[in-house]
């Protein structure tokens, strides 16, 4: 291991801004993308449930009239 302190590790030989900028962007985007995909999946399920509820309501209204 070549780091003797945390500040040395963060500094990355004076290039910390470039190194952590690259890793930070990658981490942020790779955390956001799965969340967006999960939300899309959840929205698709909700849309089906809503459609089924609308159809059930329409059937109920048809039987009562």
């Amino acid at each position: 291991m070549q780091w003797h302190s945390l500040s040395e590790f963060i500094d990355m030989g004076g290039r910390g801004g470039f190194v952590w900028g690259a890793y930070g962007t990658m981490l942020a985007l790779m955390l956001v993308e799965p969340l967006l995909a999960r939300w899309r999946h959840r929205a698709a399920r909700a849309a089906i449930a809503e459609r089924m509820a609308d159809e059930a309501a329409a059937r109920a209204a048809g039987q009562s009239s």
């Binding site: 290039r15 190194v19 690259a22 990658m26 849309a47 509820a53």
Partner: protein, 262 residues
């Protein structure tokens, strides 16, 4: 001694598993649901191992110092950007020639992840280029062809989103994806065909590697992590797209009905 029963009460034979079993949206949806979390866990484990290797085991580069550590994410992102484009075009072509709905779903699900890795390859390359080349960007063949790849991904996503008829959108997108494949070998061989500021390939099959073994191991571990991540996200997105398209199908309704209290 027991006699073997051959009566009609014997359990029915299981359906044969073939390559086309998972072309069915319902089967694919279930399979992707099992594989996505496994790939996600693999991605996290591989990423932690790769980051440990990259930051705490791999030595400082004699020429570039510490900034070279960007290579551990830049190269995997660049590789994934190209491989995912080929995968997207492959599934788009399969969808076109076999008229398979799930193949088109996969092509659409791959596109945003491919675009993300292309953007990351350009961004991390820029952050690496500034301290080593003295510039954020140059219009050399490697960088320009990678930028064209990003535009191809964005163009594909915009095209399929702009056409309301799903079938027509899939076919129009497939045409663009297949034509765009020509850009992938241009990216890969650009550093050989033209005189570029960008360095040559980081890894060459069948030749002795010039990189320290620990550096190479860190890069390969993070490449595998990116692969596993891409599989996980593509499976989750493909499940969402499948549900959007199959919203009227009985199997999709059966999935939702018990959880909604019907």
């Amino acid at each position: 001694m027991h006699a073997v029963s051959t009566s009609s009460t014997a359990p029915a034979a299981r359906p044969r598993l073939t390559w086309f079993t998972f072309a069915s949206p319902a089967n694919f949806y279930r399979l992707a649901g099992v594989l996505a979390p496994l790939c996600g866990l693999a991605a996290v484990a591989l990423a932690l191992a790769g980051l440990w290797m990259g930051f705490f085991v791999a030595p400082t580069d004699a020429v570039q110092g510490e900034v070279y550590r960007i290579i551990f994410i830049h190269v995997p992102a660049a590789w994934l950007s190209m491989v995912l484009y080929v995968a997207m075009a492959f599934w788009a072509a399969m969808g076109w020639f076999l008229n398979a709905r799930t193949a088109f779903v996969l092509a659409r699900a791959i596109a945003p992840t491919g675009a993300l890795f292309t953007l990351l390859a350009l961004w991390t390359g820029s952050l690496w280029g500034r301290p080593t080349w003295g510039t954020w960007w140059v219009w050399d063949a490697r960088l320009t062809s990678e930028l064209i790849l990003l535009f191809l991904y964005l163009g594909y996503m915009a095209l399929v989103a702009a056409i309301d008829d799903t079938r027509r959108a899939d076919k129009a997108g497939a045409l663009l994806a297949i034509v765009g494949v020509v850009n992938v070998p241009i990216i890969y061989f650009s550093v050989i065909w033209w005189n570029t500021l960008h360095q040559g390939s980081s890894l060459t099959m069948g030749k002795q590697q010039h990189m320290a073994a620990t550096m190479l191991e860190a890069m390969l571990l993070l490449t595998l992590a990116c692969w596993a991540y891409a599989f996980a996200v593509v499976f989750v997105r493909a499940r969402a797209i499948t549900l959007e398209r199959e919203s009227g199908a009985a199997w999709a309704r059966a999935l939702v009905a018990p959880t909604e209290g019907h």
